[in-house]
């Protein structure tokens, strides 16, 4: 560790604004589960030497309330110094009353408007969680509030600020912390570092099925038919064969466990198809044109080459 004095002199402050839209705060809580660095390291310390993320606005964490709090989202630094915008939750669009981030001069500030306002001048937008990345649960049929992902809101408004999607319901904290560290150390990601749905390939580059500890059961045709039975969980609805994330290696909550290790099928929560296309969640996928898996004439599954867009 360099001496404190030199670190202080070199510290660059990166302002960050974290908006909560139509979500459940689960992504924020997941970030509190970060192990190394911890949430405290991310908020208080220099998360990488010489760089400090200054969390200007986060409704669940910040001390201030009301307009005092909202003022932190106004007139954030313009480019080139910039700021990072993090959006948790999908963005309701069907009616302004479906979601407000707060109120100013008696008028509710609707979520879509605030996202557009802050995204315009941000150096980058991180859409954290599946709701923000793809719509997720609030956008599930019949999508009562017209929820949309951040990319769609920005596209409609012609805003070209780069967006990085960190899906997951909720995401692993390492996926977020790693992405932030990468931004601070190396700047914006190169095009080839993101997949077709703007996820960092570092974390979402391989199918869960590729590294699943129950893969041997799959190959041997040994399938669990009821909850709690040993074997591959494919018949119980596992979406590991169509879901790209490093869950099997990284595992969750200080690596104590993850869905498949706990006997639960993967629900594909990092994919744009969650939850509707993969619903019912505990029923075997009806195989037709899964991106990487084909059903053979004999009724068994076979891995096939991934589409080029998803190749790492």
């Amino acid at each position: 560790m360099p001496p404190r004095a030199t670190r202080k002199a070199k510290t660059k402050e990166y302002p960050a604004i974290w908006l909560q839209c139509a979500g459940c705060s689960g992504c924020s809580v997941a970030l509190l589960n970060a192990v190394s660095p911890t949430a405290k390291n991310v908020i208080v310390d220099q998360v990488v030497p010489g760089s400090h993320v200054s969390l200007k606005f986060h409704p669940t964490v910040m001390a201030g309330s009301g307009e005092m709090a909202l003022s932190m989202t106004e007139a954030p630094a313009a480019p080139p110094s910039g700021y990072l915008l993090i959006v948790e939750g999908a963005v309701p669009t069907a009616h302004k009353r479906f979601g407000a981030v707060g109120e100013k001069e008696g008028q509710p500030l609707d979520m879509a408007g605030k996202v557009r306002e802050l995204a315009r001048n941000a150096m980058a937008v991180i859409a954290i969680g599946t709701c923000s990345s793809f719509g997720g649960i609030p956008a599930a049929e019949p999508n009562p509030t017209g929820c949309k992902p951040v990319t769609e809101i920005l596209k409609e408004a012609g805003i070209t600020t780069p967006v990085i999607n960190i899906p997951g319901c909720p995401p692993h904290p390492d996926w977020f912390v790693g992405t932030v560290a990468s931004l601070l150390l190396f700047g914006l990601p190169q095009a080839q570092e993101l997949d077709v749905v703007r996820r960092p390939k570092r974390f979402f580059g391989r199918l869960i099925h590729e590294n699943c500890p129950r893969r041997a059961d799959f190959e041997a045709g040994k399938f669990a038919r009821k909850v709690g039975e040993p074997g591959c969980l494919y018949e119980l609805g596992c979406r590991g064969p169509i879901t790209s994330a490093d869950c099997p290696e990284r595992m969750f909550n200080a690596a104590v466990n993850w869905c498949i290790k706990a006997g639960s099928p993967c629900m594909g929560c990092v994919e744009p198809e969650f939850p509707d296309v993969v619903s019912p969640l505990y029923r075997k996928t009806e195989e037709k044109d899964l991106p990487c898996i084909r059903l053979t004439a004999e009724g068994t599954l076979r891995a096939v080459k991934r589409p080029a867009a998803v190749e790492s």
Binding site: L32, P59, K104, A262, P275
Partner: protein, 519 residues
């Protein structure tokens, strides 16, 4: 007279707004509004019943395990398999939910509530060698004080030494709540949004290494509760003694009870639960919960009037965002037509009146230490104390349960999906009484209704003009400094609302609030 708007209140979950009218330094009117609508009940219609615990957990990322528990019990009943849930399944569900209780209570006191009482910036004067405090001192010296500043100023009363200790405990508590989630994930797969609890039981059985792993994370948290959390609540109570008089609620408490000790195949009033069910009032009358006495009113809610006055099992959710008389996305649940407070205080009052010995001893001990009467429990401080007392009680019980697990034995009943069915799952979560109700048709969910704790506490007024519990707790509160209305946010946060919240302070002659008058 000045008009002050505060919006949003932070450090609570979700989106809730409270408006109060202040005249002569006192709150004359209050209204509480949920400002986010996602339509979960509409999204659930037509889905497979086994998916309900997964979907409903996403209501809340802070307390998903209780939604999973209530939903699983609701679907157990609708599937007709509640009697078949094996003992391992029952205990593992309790351990998953119990871990969520510990996480939630620690998070609430230290990370959501404490910044109303603790001044982080006092650490700038620290001269010792503690690395945590020194890193915070460095942070303060760098001068970018977000997210701890800006904040209300003028009422931080802890001595420098106690304050510094509390800041160190804020950081330590981050680690403790993280470990509570690790405990949960040992049996629940991951957290937030665990995958372990399913209709019929849980998805995996206990192993000896998991039991040992769980027990020793738990023991570390128990030490923290006993030596840090409880003493810190007492220290805050001593410095802010007036808050034993502030934030008096409706004086009616409702608890469904939580942590089943026996079969779940009987109505809630007959369940054996660690924290018992009951309905209590300020004159110490206690009665069993009668599920049929619950209705939901919508006169002041953005829903069609056709949804009002119904029992949740027959409830409907038809949004009407332009309804003129409405001011909230929350419905107004009532028990026998009256608003009731739910949460740790409700459970502790009910347990005390039922003579649950450890709860009674702990409450009497805290009251003696603070030289307070039992009536002081109905207050801001009473809610914080009840939460801490309950955390200790639940953690101690969990240490027994984890050794009752039987590796190798069944943990999940067979899931058989009937064409039709009805179910209810009533269970207390960290923030209070939670109910899920469903009707199945053609093997799918035909109706699903939730009444969540903050709907009880944060409910708007009903057709009879009765304000909700948080609204009522705000009425009469003295506001010393309208620019720094500590009293309002401390009262609202003592309920641990599961919604991000916005508070407005306006004068009696303030904006167009007349049409929303609740007095």
């Amino acid at each position: 007279m000045t008009t002050i708007n505060i919006d949003p209140i932070t450090r609570i979950e979700g989106h809730l707004k409270v408006e109060v009218i202040v005249a002569d330094g006192e709150v004359k009117e209050a209204r509480c509004s949920g400002t986010l609508y996602r339509g979960f009940e509409q999204i659930l219609v037509g889905r497979h019943p086994l998916d309900a615990p997964i979907i409903t957990q996403r209501v809340c990322g802070v307390c998903p395990a209780v939604h999973a528990t209530a939903s699983a019990q609701c679907i157990d009943a609708a599937l007709g398999i509640a009697a078949n849930v094996p003992a391992n399944g029952r205990i593992l569900r309790n351990l998953i939910l119990g871990s969520n209780f510990l996480q939630s209570h620690i998070l609430h006191f230290y990370h959501l509530a404490a910044l109303d009482y603790v001044d982080v910036t006092k650490v700038a004067k620290y001269r010792g060698s503690d690395p945590t405090l020194n890193s915070i001192k460095q942070f303060i010296k760098r001068g970018e004080l977000a997210p701890f500043v800006p904040r209300y100023e003028g009422d931080y009363r802890l001595s420098d030494a106690v304050d510094r200790e509390a800041v160190a405990h804020y950081v330590k508590a981050l680690e403790m709540r993280r470990k509570a989630h690790e405990m949960l994930a040992i049996f629940g797969g991951k957290m937030p949004h665990q995958v372990g609890i399913v209709p019929g039981g849980v998805t995996s059985g206990p192993n000896v290494d998991q039991i040992a792993n769980f027990l020793w994370r738990l023991n570390e948290i128990r030490d923290f509760i006993n030596t840090v959390y409880l003493p810190d609540v007492i220290a805050v109570a001593k410095a802010y003694g007036d808050y034993a008089e502030i934030g008096k609620g409706v004086g009616r408490w409702l608890a469904y009870g939580v942590f089943d000790m026996g079969t779940t195949d009987v109505p809630v009033a007959q369940r054996q639960r660690l924290l018992p069910q009951g309905v209590a009032d300020a004159s110490h009358q206690l009665a069993d919960v009668d599920e049929a006495a619950i209705t939901e009113e919508v006169e002041r809610s953005w829903y069609s009037d056709a949804c009002g006055g119904k029992h949740p099992s027959a409830g409907a959710t038809i949004p009407e965002p332009d309804k003129a008389a409405a001011y909230s996305w929350l419905k107004a649940p009532r028990y026998q037509g009256k608003p009731h407070e739910v949460g740790p205080l409700a459970r502790v009052v009910v347990s005390y009146l039922r003579g649950v010995a450890p709860i009674k001893a702990a409450v009497d001990g805290v009251l003696a230490e603070l030289k307070a009467e039992p009536g002081a429990l109905n207050s801001v401080l009473g809610r914080h104390a009840a939460r801490a007392i309950e955390a200790k009680f639940v953690a101690d019980a969990m240490a027994d349960w984890v050794t009752q697990l039987k590796p190798g034995e069944r943990f999940c009943a067979d899931q058989v999906i009937p064409e039709t069915g009805q179910g209810a799952g009533l269970v207390d979560g960290p923030r209070g009484a939670l109910g899920h109700w469903t009707t199945l048709e053609n093997g799918r969910i035909a109706n699903y209704q939730l009444v969540v704790p903050t709907t009880w506490n944060g409910s708007p007024a009903d057709g009879a003009g009765q304000p909700g519990p948080i609204e009522q707790a705000l009425l009469g509160a003295k506001v010393r400094d309208e620019a720094n209305p500590f009293e309002i946010v401390r009262i609202v946060r003592s309920f641990d609302p599961c919604l991000a919240c916005a508070v407005h302070l306006v004068t009696a002659r303030g904006r167009e609030l007349g049409k929303f008058r609740v007095l």
